[in-house]
Symmetry: C2
Protein backbone atom coordinates (compact mmCIF):
# COMPACT_ATOMS: atom_id res chain seq x y z
CA UNK A 1 0.00 0.00 0.00
CA UNK A 2 2.87 2.39 0.80
CA UNK A 3 3.59 2.96 -2.89
CA UNK A 4 -0.01 3.98 -3.43
CA UNK A 5 -0.08 6.68 -0.78
CA UNK A 6 1.97 9.86 -0.80
CA UNK A 7 2.09 12.37 2.06
CA UNK A 8 3.24 15.96 2.24
CA UNK A 9 3.64 18.04 5.40
CA UNK A 10 3.74 21.79 4.76
CA UNK A 11 4.51 21.18 1.14
CA UNK A 12 7.37 18.70 1.61
CA UNK A 13 7.17 14.94 1.04
CA UNK A 14 7.10 13.42 4.51
CA UNK A 15 6.25 10.30 6.44
CA UNK A 16 5.77 11.88 9.86
CA UNK A 17 4.13 14.84 11.58
CA UNK A 18 6.36 17.15 13.63
CA UNK A 19 5.41 17.09 17.31
CA UNK A 20 3.85 18.63 19.26
CA UNK A 21 0.83 19.19 17.06
CA UNK A 22 -2.55 20.37 18.28
CA UNK A 23 -4.30 18.34 15.63
CA UNK A 24 -3.13 15.19 17.41
CA UNK A 25 -3.43 16.62 20.93
CA UNK A 26 -6.98 17.99 20.73
CA UNK A 27 -8.34 17.35 17.26
CA UNK A 28 -7.69 21.06 16.79
CA UNK A 29 -8.09 21.24 13.04
CA UNK A 30 -10.12 20.55 9.93
CA UNK A 31 -9.99 18.26 6.94
CA UNK A 32 -11.30 17.76 3.44
CA UNK A 33 -11.36 14.71 1.19
CA UNK A 34 -11.26 15.47 -2.51
CA UNK A 35 -11.72 13.18 -5.46
CA UNK A 36 -8.94 13.65 -7.98
CA UNK A 37 -9.36 12.51 -11.57
CA UNK A 38 -5.96 12.19 -13.20
CA UNK A 39 -4.23 15.36 -12.03
CA UNK A 40 -7.45 17.33 -11.45
CA UNK A 41 -9.02 17.70 -7.99
CA UNK A 42 -12.79 17.99 -8.42
CA UNK A 43 -15.07 20.65 -6.93
CA UNK A 44 -12.05 22.24 -5.29
CA UNK A 45 -13.76 25.52 -4.58
CA UNK A 46 -16.50 23.88 -2.51
CA UNK A 47 -13.92 22.05 -0.42
CA UNK A 48 -11.71 25.07 0.12
CA UNK A 49 -14.71 27.27 0.93
CA UNK A 50 -15.85 24.83 3.62
CA UNK A 51 -12.34 24.72 5.07
CA UNK A 52 -12.12 28.50 5.09
CA UNK A 53 -15.45 28.69 6.88
CA UNK A 54 -14.07 26.23 9.44
CA UNK A 55 -10.97 28.39 9.84
CA UNK A 56 -13.15 31.35 10.72
CA UNK A 57 -15.19 29.39 13.28
CA UNK A 58 -12.08 27.94 14.92
CA UNK A 59 -10.23 31.28 14.68
CA UNK A 60 -7.41 29.96 12.53
CA UNK A 61 -5.51 32.54 10.52
CA UNK A 62 -6.69 32.56 6.88
CA UNK A 63 -4.61 30.23 4.74
CA UNK A 64 -6.46 29.90 1.44
CA UNK A 65 -3.44 30.89 -0.63
CA UNK A 66 -1.08 28.39 0.95
CA UNK A 67 -3.73 25.69 0.81
CA UNK A 68 -4.51 26.30 -2.82
CA UNK A 69 -0.83 26.28 -3.73
CA UNK A 70 -0.02 23.05 -1.88
CA UNK A 71 -3.12 21.37 -3.29
CA UNK A 72 -2.03 22.40 -6.77
CA UNK A 73 1.44 20.95 -6.29
CA UNK A 74 0.10 17.72 -4.84
CA UNK A 75 -2.28 17.34 -7.77
CA UNK A 76 0.53 17.96 -10.25
CA UNK A 77 2.59 15.24 -8.60
CA UNK A 78 -0.37 12.85 -8.67
CA UNK A 79 -0.60 13.51 -12.39
CA UNK A 80 2.91 12.14 -12.84
CA UNK A 81 1.85 8.88 -11.18
CA UNK A 82 -0.93 8.38 -13.73
CA UNK A 83 -3.41 7.16 -11.15
CA UNK A 84 -6.85 7.28 -12.81
CA UNK A 85 -8.57 8.41 -9.61
CA UNK A 86 -7.17 9.35 -6.21
CA UNK A 87 -8.49 10.39 -2.83
CA UNK A 88 -6.71 13.47 -1.59
CA UNK A 89 -7.07 14.39 2.04
CA UNK A 90 -6.10 17.83 3.27
CA UNK A 91 -5.66 18.03 7.03
CA UNK A 92 -5.18 21.49 8.49
CA UNK A 93 -4.12 21.69 12.14
CA UNK A 94 -3.43 24.64 14.41
CA UNK A 95 0.18 23.47 14.44
CA UNK A 96 2.42 23.44 17.47
CA UNK A 97 1.80 25.29 20.68
CA UNK A 98 2.68 25.29 24.35
CA UNK A 99 1.13 22.65 26.62
CA UNK A 100 -2.58 23.03 27.38
CA UNK A 101 -5.90 23.67 25.65
CA UNK A 102 -5.43 27.39 24.97
CA UNK A 103 -4.38 27.99 21.37
CA UNK A 104 -1.26 30.10 20.82
CA UNK A 105 -1.96 33.73 20.02
CA UNK A 106 -0.03 33.48 16.78
CA UNK A 107 -0.88 30.02 15.52
CA UNK A 108 1.05 28.70 12.53
CA UNK A 109 -1.27 26.09 11.02
CA UNK A 110 0.24 22.95 9.54
CA UNK A 111 -0.99 21.35 6.33
CA UNK A 112 -0.85 17.60 5.83
CA UNK A 113 -1.85 16.35 2.39
CA UNK A 114 -2.23 12.67 1.73
CA UNK A 115 -3.03 11.17 -1.67
CA UNK A 116 -4.14 7.58 -2.11
CA UNK A 117 -4.66 5.79 -5.39
CA UNK A 118 -8.23 4.61 -5.88
CA UNK A 119 -9.44 1.81 -8.16
CA UNK A 120 -9.52 1.91 -11.91
CA UNK A 121 -11.27 4.47 -14.07
CA UNK A 122 -14.79 5.44 -13.07
CA UNK A 123 -16.82 2.30 -12.47
CA UNK A 124 -20.15 4.15 -12.54
CA UNK A 125 -22.63 4.28 -9.70
CA UNK A 126 -21.83 1.95 -6.81
CA UNK A 127 -24.10 -1.01 -6.14
CA UNK A 128 -27.02 -0.23 -3.82
CA UNK A 129 -25.89 -0.32 -0.18
CA UNK A 130 -27.03 -2.33 2.81
CA UNK A 131 -27.47 -0.05 5.82
CA UNK A 132 -27.75 -0.82 9.50
CA UNK A 133 -28.63 1.58 12.32
CA UNK A 134 -25.69 2.79 14.41
CA UNK A 135 -26.13 2.72 18.16
CA UNK A 136 -23.74 5.60 18.63
CA UNK A 137 -25.36 8.93 17.80
CA UNK A 138 -24.06 12.31 16.68
CA UNK A 139 -23.17 14.64 19.55
CA UNK A 140 -25.30 17.77 19.90
CA UNK A 141 -23.09 20.77 19.16
CA UNK A 142 -24.65 23.66 17.26
CA UNK A 143 -21.44 25.72 17.45
CA UNK A 144 -19.55 23.23 15.29
CA UNK A 145 -22.37 21.62 13.30
CA UNK A 146 -21.67 21.35 9.59
CA UNK A 147 -17.89 21.67 9.91
CA UNK A 148 -15.52 18.93 8.84
CA UNK A 149 -13.26 19.20 11.88
CA UNK A 150 -10.99 16.55 13.33
CA UNK A 151 -13.26 15.44 16.21
CA UNK A 152 -14.77 12.37 14.56
CA UNK A 153 -14.94 9.62 17.18
CA UNK A 154 -18.67 9.03 16.70
CA UNK A 155 -18.18 8.22 13.02
CA UNK A 156 -15.26 5.93 13.84
CA UNK A 157 -17.44 4.01 16.29
CA UNK A 158 -20.40 3.90 13.91
CA UNK A 159 -18.14 2.63 11.11
CA UNK A 160 -16.93 -0.10 13.42
CA UNK A 161 -20.58 -1.02 14.05
CA UNK A 162 -21.49 -1.44 10.39
CA UNK A 163 -18.35 -3.44 9.72
CA UNK A 164 -19.24 -5.80 12.56
CA UNK A 165 -22.82 -6.01 11.27
CA UNK A 166 -21.60 -6.86 7.78
CA UNK A 167 -23.35 -3.79 6.36
CA UNK A 168 -21.98 -1.23 3.88
CA UNK A 169 -22.89 1.83 5.90
CA UNK A 170 -24.93 2.91 8.92
CA UNK A 171 -27.68 5.42 9.49
CA UNK A 172 -26.68 7.80 12.27
CA UNK A 173 -29.23 9.58 14.47
CA UNK A 174 -28.93 12.70 16.56
CA UNK A 175 -29.37 12.68 20.34
CA UNK A 176 -33.14 13.09 19.89
CA UNK A 177 -33.37 10.04 17.64
CA UNK A 178 -33.84 11.94 14.39
CA UNK A 179 -32.12 10.72 11.22
CA UNK A 180 -29.06 12.79 10.30
CA UNK A 181 -26.79 10.99 7.85
CA UNK A 182 -24.75 7.90 7.19
CA UNK A 183 -21.22 7.63 8.60
CA UNK A 184 -19.42 8.96 5.54
CA UNK A 185 -22.05 10.87 3.68
CA UNK A 186 -25.27 12.84 3.72
CA UNK A 187 -28.58 11.03 3.34
CA UNK A 188 -31.49 11.98 1.10
CA UNK A 189 -34.99 10.53 0.98
CA UNK A 190 -37.30 10.71 -1.99
CA UNK A 191 -40.81 10.99 -0.57
CA UNK A 192 -44.01 12.22 -2.20
CA UNK A 193 -42.10 13.65 -5.14
CA UNK A 194 -39.68 15.72 -3.09
CA UNK A 195 -36.20 15.17 -1.72
CA UNK A 196 -35.75 15.43 2.04
CA UNK A 197 -32.47 15.81 3.87
CA UNK A 198 -31.55 16.61 7.45
CA UNK A 199 -30.97 20.19 8.52
CA UNK A 200 -27.48 20.27 10.04
CA UNK A 201 -27.88 22.93 12.71
CA UNK A 202 -27.16 20.66 15.71
CA UNK A 203 -24.69 18.10 14.35
CA UNK A 204 -23.42 16.46 11.19
CA UNK A 205 -21.19 17.52 8.32
CA UNK A 206 -22.43 19.72 5.48
CA UNK A 207 -21.09 17.72 2.54
CA UNK A 208 -19.95 19.23 -0.71
CA UNK A 209 -22.06 16.71 -2.70
CA UNK A 210 -25.05 17.47 -0.47
CA UNK A 211 -24.61 21.07 -1.50
CA UNK A 212 -24.44 20.09 -5.17
CA UNK A 213 -27.56 17.92 -4.92
CA UNK A 214 -29.47 20.75 -3.27
CA UNK A 215 -28.29 23.66 -5.37
CA UNK A 216 -27.52 22.14 -8.74
CA UNK A 217 -28.43 18.55 -9.54
CA UNK A 218 -31.92 18.31 -8.01
CA UNK A 219 -32.99 21.72 -9.38
CA UNK A 220 -31.74 20.64 -12.82
CA UNK A 221 -34.26 17.78 -12.63
CA UNK A 222 -37.02 20.03 -11.32
CA UNK A 223 -36.86 18.32 -7.94
CA UNK A 224 -37.62 20.29 -4.81
CA UNK A 225 -35.30 19.66 -1.84
CA UNK A 226 -36.55 20.21 1.69
CA UNK A 227 -34.06 20.56 4.52
CA UNK A 228 -35.58 19.73 7.88
CA UNK A 229 -36.23 17.05 10.44
CA UNK A 230 -36.03 13.45 9.23
CA UNK A 231 -37.49 10.54 11.15
CA UNK A 232 -36.93 6.81 10.96
CA UNK A 233 -40.59 6.53 9.95
CA UNK A 234 -39.93 8.78 6.96
CA UNK A 235 -36.91 6.70 6.00
CA UNK A 236 -39.00 3.55 6.09
CA UNK A 237 -41.79 5.24 4.14
CA UNK A 238 -39.44 6.71 1.52
CA UNK A 239 -39.88 5.78 -2.14
CA UNK A 240 -36.11 5.82 -2.41
CA UNK A 241 -33.08 6.65 -0.30
CA UNK A 242 -29.50 7.48 -1.24
CA UNK A 243 -26.41 9.03 0.22
CA UNK A 244 -23.56 11.05 -1.20
CA UNK A 245 -19.95 11.91 -0.52
CA UNK A 246 -16.97 13.20 -2.44
CA UNK A 247 -15.48 9.83 -3.38
CA UNK A 248 -18.57 7.87 -4.44
CA UNK A 249 -20.72 10.71 -5.71
CA UNK A 250 -24.17 9.25 -4.98
CA UNK A 251 -25.08 5.73 -3.94
CA UNK A 252 -28.57 4.25 -3.62
CA UNK A 253 -29.75 2.36 -0.55
CA UNK A 254 -30.83 -1.25 -1.14
CA UNK A 255 -31.89 -2.05 2.37
CA UNK A 256 -32.26 -0.55 5.83
CA UNK A 257 -33.22 -3.06 8.50
CA UNK A 258 -36.47 -4.67 7.25
CA UNK A 259 -37.10 -2.15 4.49
CA UNK A 260 -35.73 -2.74 1.00
CA UNK A 261 -35.78 -0.75 -2.22
CA UNK A 262 -35.33 -2.34 -5.62
CA UNK A 263 -35.41 0.61 -8.01
CA UNK A 264 -33.60 3.92 -7.68
CA UNK A 265 -34.68 6.18 -10.54
CA UNK A 266 -34.12 9.45 -8.65
CA UNK A 267 -30.62 8.50 -7.55
CA UNK A 268 -29.80 7.34 -11.07
CA UNK A 269 -31.01 10.61 -12.58
CA UNK A 270 -28.97 12.61 -10.06
CA UNK A 271 -25.96 10.42 -10.73
CA UNK A 272 -26.27 11.33 -14.41
CA UNK A 273 -26.17 15.00 -13.42
CA UNK A 274 -23.10 14.30 -11.32
CA UNK A 275 -21.37 12.48 -14.17
CA UNK A 276 -22.24 15.34 -16.48
CA UNK A 277 -20.44 17.72 -14.13
CA UNK A 278 -17.37 15.50 -14.13
CA UNK A 279 -17.02 15.42 -17.89
Amino acid sequence: MAGDTVIWVDGERASALPLPDRGLEFGDGLFETLLVRGAVPLFTQLHLARMQHGCRVLAFPPCDETLGEQLHRAAAYIGTRQWPFSALRITLTRGSGPRGYAPPREARPRIVISATRLGEASPGMAAPAMLCLANIRWPTQPALAGLKHLNRLEQVMAAREYRLAGADEAVMLDQQGRVVSVVAGNLFLSLDGRLLTAALDQCGIAGTRRDLVMRRWAPALGLEVVEGTLTLEQLEAADEAFFCNSLIGLRPVARFQQRSWTSHPVCEALYQQYQGDLS
Copy 2:
Protein backbone atom coordinates in the same frame (compact mmCIF):
# COMPACT_ATOMS: atom_id res chain seq x y z
CA MET B 1 11.49 25.51 25.41
CA ALA B 2 12.67 22.53 23.31
CA GLY B 3 15.17 21.50 25.98
CA ASP B 4 12.38 21.36 28.52
CA THR B 5 10.16 18.98 26.57
CA VAL B 6 10.99 15.39 25.69
CA ILE B 7 8.87 13.17 23.46
CA TRP B 8 8.77 9.42 22.95
CA VAL B 9 6.80 7.56 20.28
CA ASP B 10 6.30 3.88 21.03
CA GLY B 11 9.08 3.99 23.56
CA GLU B 12 11.71 5.68 21.39
CA ARG B 13 12.79 9.32 21.67
CA ALA B 14 11.20 11.09 18.73
CA SER B 15 10.24 14.46 17.36
CA ALA B 16 7.55 13.33 14.92
CA LEU B 17 4.56 11.03 14.65
CA PRO B 18 4.58 8.39 11.88
CA LEU B 19 1.80 8.97 9.36
CA PRO B 20 -0.92 8.02 8.75
CA ASP B 21 -2.21 8.09 12.30
CA ARG B 22 -5.87 7.89 13.27
CA GLY B 23 -5.26 10.09 16.28
CA LEU B 24 -4.55 12.96 13.89
CA GLU B 25 -7.09 11.94 11.28
CA PHE B 26 -10.14 11.50 13.52
CA GLY B 27 -9.12 12.19 17.11
CA ASP B 28 -9.28 8.40 17.42
CA GLY B 29 -7.54 8.04 20.75
CA LEU B 30 -7.24 8.95 24.41
CA PHE B 31 -4.89 10.91 26.62
CA GLU B 32 -3.84 11.44 30.21
CA THR B 33 -1.87 14.21 31.85
CA LEU B 34 0.08 13.16 34.92
CA LEU B 35 1.93 15.26 37.44
CA VAL B 36 5.43 13.91 38.00
CA ARG B 37 7.39 14.84 41.12
CA GLY B 38 11.05 14.15 40.55
CA ALA B 39 10.96 10.75 38.86
CA VAL B 40 7.61 9.73 40.34
CA PRO B 41 4.34 10.03 38.38
CA LEU B 42 1.52 10.65 40.85
CA PHE B 43 -1.77 8.78 41.11
CA THR B 44 -0.68 6.62 38.19
CA GLN B 45 -3.27 3.93 38.81
CA LEU B 46 -6.17 6.37 38.51
CA HIS B 47 -4.85 7.65 35.20
CA LEU B 48 -4.16 4.24 33.74
CA ALA B 49 -7.53 2.91 34.92
CA ARG B 50 -9.33 5.76 33.16
CA MET B 51 -7.33 5.12 30.00
CA GLN B 52 -8.12 1.41 30.14
CA HIS B 53 -11.79 2.22 30.54
CA GLY B 54 -11.52 4.43 27.46
CA CYS B 55 -9.83 1.60 25.57
CA ARG B 56 -12.80 -0.63 26.30
CA VAL B 57 -15.34 1.97 25.17
CA LEU B 58 -13.43 2.71 21.95
CA ALA B 59 -12.67 -1.00 21.38
CA PHE B 60 -8.91 -0.59 21.48
CA PRO B 61 -6.94 -3.72 22.30
CA PRO B 62 -5.84 -3.72 25.96
CA CYS B 63 -2.42 -2.16 26.38
CA ASP B 64 -1.97 -1.65 30.13
CA GLU B 65 1.35 -3.51 30.23
CA THR B 66 2.97 -1.58 27.40
CA LEU B 67 1.61 1.68 28.77
CA GLY B 68 2.87 1.00 32.27
CA GLU B 69 6.30 0.02 30.96
CA GLN B 70 6.71 3.08 28.74
CA LEU B 71 5.46 5.36 31.49
CA HIS B 72 8.01 3.83 33.85
CA ARG B 73 10.85 4.39 31.39
CA ALA B 74 9.80 7.97 30.68
CA ALA B 75 9.64 8.69 34.40
CA ALA B 76 13.10 7.19 34.93
CA TYR B 77 14.49 9.44 32.22
CA ILE B 78 12.79 12.48 33.73
CA GLY B 79 14.52 11.62 37.00
CA THR B 80 17.88 12.01 35.30
CA ARG B 81 16.94 15.55 34.25
CA GLN B 82 16.29 16.53 37.87
CA TRP B 83 13.20 18.54 37.05
CA PRO B 84 11.37 19.16 40.33
CA PHE B 85 7.94 18.76 38.73
CA SER B 86 6.92 17.75 35.23
CA ALA B 87 3.75 17.35 33.26
CA LEU B 88 3.67 14.03 31.47
CA ARG B 89 1.12 13.54 28.74
CA ILE B 90 0.34 10.06 27.44
CA THR B 91 -1.46 10.04 24.11
CA LEU B 92 -2.77 6.70 22.91
CA THR B 93 -4.01 6.53 19.33
CA ARG B 94 -5.47 3.68 17.29
CA GLY B 95 -2.33 3.92 15.16
CA SER B 96 -2.25 3.61 11.40
CA GLY B 97 -5.00 2.23 9.25
CA PRO B 98 -6.35 2.30 5.72
CA ARG B 99 -8.18 5.41 4.50
CA GLY B 100 -11.63 6.02 5.98
CA TYR B 101 -13.45 6.12 9.30
CA ALA B 102 -13.64 2.37 9.90
CA PRO B 103 -10.94 1.23 12.33
CA PRO B 104 -8.70 -1.63 11.22
CA ARG B 105 -9.73 -5.01 12.55
CA GLU B 106 -6.32 -5.52 14.14
CA ALA B 107 -5.42 -2.07 15.37
CA ARG B 108 -1.91 -1.50 16.67
CA PRO B 109 -2.24 1.47 19.00
CA ARG B 110 0.56 4.01 19.12
CA ILE B 111 1.79 5.61 22.34
CA VAL B 112 3.13 9.16 22.39
CA ILE B 113 4.56 10.35 25.68
CA SER B 114 5.56 13.94 26.15
CA ALA B 115 7.21 15.31 29.29
CA THR B 116 7.47 19.03 29.99
CA ARG B 117 9.32 20.64 32.86
CA LEU B 118 7.07 22.63 35.16
CA GLY B 119 8.07 25.45 37.51
CA GLU B 120 10.13 25.10 40.65
CA ALA B 121 9.30 22.89 43.61
CA SER B 122 5.70 22.91 44.82
CA PRO B 123 4.53 26.47 45.23
CA GLY B 124 1.48 25.52 47.27
CA MET B 125 -2.10 26.25 46.32
CA ALA B 126 -2.49 28.51 43.30
CA ALA B 127 -3.92 32.00 43.80
CA PRO B 128 -7.73 32.16 43.56
CA ALA B 129 -8.82 32.25 39.93
CA MET B 130 -10.89 34.72 37.93
CA LEU B 131 -13.50 32.87 35.87
CA CYS B 132 -15.58 33.95 32.93
CA LEU B 133 -18.44 32.09 31.28
CA ALA B 134 -17.59 30.35 28.01
CA ASN B 135 -20.02 30.83 25.14
CA ILE B 136 -19.10 27.48 23.64
CA ARG B 137 -20.76 24.61 25.50
CA TRP B 138 -19.96 20.94 25.96
CA PRO B 139 -21.43 18.68 23.28
CA THR B 140 -24.11 16.24 24.42
CA GLN B 141 -22.71 12.72 24.02
CA PRO B 142 -23.60 10.17 26.71
CA ALA B 143 -21.68 7.39 24.92
CA LEU B 144 -18.35 9.16 25.44
CA ALA B 145 -19.08 11.26 28.54
CA GLY B 146 -16.39 11.07 31.20
CA LEU B 147 -13.65 9.83 28.85
CA LYS B 148 -10.49 11.79 28.19
CA HIS B 149 -10.48 11.22 24.44
CA LEU B 150 -8.82 13.31 21.77
CA ASN B 151 -11.94 15.18 20.57
CA ARG B 152 -11.44 18.38 22.53
CA LEU B 153 -12.35 21.27 20.24
CA GLU B 154 -14.87 22.74 22.67
CA GLN B 155 -12.24 23.11 25.37
CA VAL B 156 -9.81 24.65 22.90
CA MET B 157 -12.41 27.24 21.94
CA ALA B 158 -13.39 27.91 25.55
CA ALA B 159 -9.73 28.35 26.51
CA ARG B 160 -9.38 30.87 23.71
CA GLU B 161 -12.38 32.71 25.15
CA TYR B 162 -10.96 33.05 28.65
CA ARG B 163 -7.60 34.15 27.29
CA LEU B 164 -9.29 36.86 25.26
CA ALA B 165 -11.35 37.86 28.31
CA GLY B 166 -8.23 38.11 30.46
CA ALA B 167 -9.59 35.46 32.85
CA ASP B 168 -7.76 32.46 34.32
CA GLU B 169 -10.39 29.90 33.40
CA ALA B 170 -13.94 29.61 32.13
CA VAL B 171 -17.09 27.93 33.38
CA MET B 172 -18.45 25.59 30.71
CA LEU B 173 -22.13 24.69 30.46
CA ASP B 174 -23.85 21.77 28.81
CA GLN B 175 -26.28 22.20 25.93
CA GLN B 176 -29.13 22.71 28.45
CA GLY B 177 -27.29 25.53 30.20
CA ARG B 178 -26.31 23.56 33.28
CA VAL B 179 -22.89 24.07 34.84
CA VAL B 180 -20.47 21.23 34.06
CA SER B 181 -16.86 22.21 34.67
CA VAL B 182 -14.10 24.62 33.84
CA VAL B 183 -12.02 24.10 30.68
CA ALA B 184 -9.23 22.12 32.31
CA GLY B 185 -10.76 20.78 35.47
CA ASN B 186 -13.82 19.72 37.39
CA LEU B 187 -15.77 22.25 39.41
CA PHE B 188 -17.07 21.89 42.96
CA LEU B 189 -19.40 24.17 44.89
CA SER B 190 -19.63 24.34 48.64
CA LEU B 191 -23.26 25.06 49.45
CA ASP B 192 -25.18 24.55 52.70
CA GLY B 193 -22.39 22.45 54.17
CA ARG B 194 -22.14 20.01 51.29
CA LEU B 195 -20.03 19.78 48.17
CA LEU B 196 -21.82 19.71 44.81
CA THR B 197 -20.34 18.66 41.51
CA ALA B 198 -21.82 17.95 38.10
CA ALA B 199 -22.85 14.42 37.17
CA LEU B 200 -20.97 13.60 33.98
CA ASP B 201 -23.43 11.35 32.19
CA GLN B 202 -23.97 13.59 29.15
CA CYS B 203 -20.62 15.32 28.69
CA GLY B 204 -17.43 16.35 30.47
CA ILE B 205 -14.33 14.53 31.67
CA ALA B 206 -14.28 12.49 34.87
CA GLY B 207 -11.09 13.87 36.41
CA THR B 208 -8.74 11.87 38.59
CA ARG B 209 -8.67 14.66 41.20
CA ARG B 210 -12.47 14.86 41.08
CA ASP B 211 -12.46 11.20 41.97
CA LEU B 212 -10.03 11.82 44.83
CA VAL B 213 -12.10 14.71 46.19
CA MET B 214 -15.23 12.59 46.11
CA ARG B 215 -13.85 9.32 47.42
CA ARG B 216 -10.99 10.33 49.66
CA TRP B 217 -10.36 13.96 50.53
CA ALA B 218 -13.91 15.19 51.21
CA PRO B 219 -14.84 12.06 53.20
CA ALA B 220 -11.66 12.53 55.27
CA LEU B 221 -13.05 15.92 56.29
CA GLY B 222 -16.52 14.55 56.93
CA LEU B 223 -17.84 16.43 53.91
CA GLU B 224 -20.69 14.96 51.91
CA VAL B 225 -20.36 15.23 48.11
CA VAL B 226 -23.46 15.28 45.94
CA GLU B 227 -23.15 14.54 42.23
CA GLY B 228 -26.02 15.97 40.24
CA THR B 229 -27.30 18.93 38.28
CA LEU B 230 -25.56 22.26 38.87
CA THR B 231 -27.05 25.58 37.88
CA LEU B 232 -25.56 29.01 37.43
CA GLU B 233 -27.82 30.13 40.29
CA GLN B 234 -26.19 27.56 42.57
CA LEU B 235 -22.75 28.72 41.51
CA GLU B 236 -23.67 32.30 42.35
CA ALA B 237 -25.21 31.21 45.65
CA ALA B 238 -22.26 29.01 46.63
CA ASP B 239 -20.32 29.71 49.83
CA GLU B 240 -17.21 28.72 47.95
CA ALA B 241 -16.21 27.33 44.58
CA PHE B 242 -13.05 25.56 43.42
CA PHE B 243 -11.82 23.40 40.60
CA CYS B 244 -9.28 20.62 40.35
CA ASN B 245 -7.01 18.94 37.86
CA SER B 246 -3.91 16.81 37.88
CA LEU B 247 -1.36 19.60 37.55
CA ILE B 248 -2.72 22.18 40.00
CA GLY B 249 -4.43 19.89 42.47
CA LEU B 250 -7.18 22.21 43.68
CA ARG B 251 -7.62 25.92 43.04
CA PRO B 252 -10.18 28.24 44.62
CA VAL B 253 -12.37 30.61 42.61
CA ALA B 254 -11.98 34.32 43.41
CA ARG B 255 -14.58 35.63 41.03
CA PHE B 256 -17.16 34.54 38.50
CA GLN B 257 -18.78 37.41 36.63
CA GLN B 258 -20.26 39.69 39.36
CA ARG B 259 -19.84 37.20 42.20
CA SER B 260 -16.66 37.13 44.25
CA TRP B 261 -15.40 34.98 47.11
CA THR B 262 -12.75 36.15 49.54
CA SER B 263 -12.23 33.13 51.78
CA HIS B 264 -11.80 29.51 50.76
CA PRO B 265 -11.64 27.37 53.90
CA VAL B 266 -13.08 24.23 52.28
CA CYS B 267 -10.69 24.35 49.34
CA GLU B 268 -7.79 24.98 51.71
CA ALA B 269 -8.71 22.03 53.89
CA LEU B 270 -9.01 19.78 50.82
CA TYR B 271 -5.70 21.08 49.53
CA GLN B 272 -4.11 19.99 52.82
CA GLN B 273 -5.51 16.51 52.23
CA TYR B 274 -4.09 16.57 48.72
CA GLN B 275 -0.67 17.68 49.96
CA GLY B 276 -0.79 14.96 52.56
CA ASP B 277 -1.28 12.39 49.80
CA LEU B 278 1.73 13.75 47.92
CA SER B 279 4.12 13.44 50.84
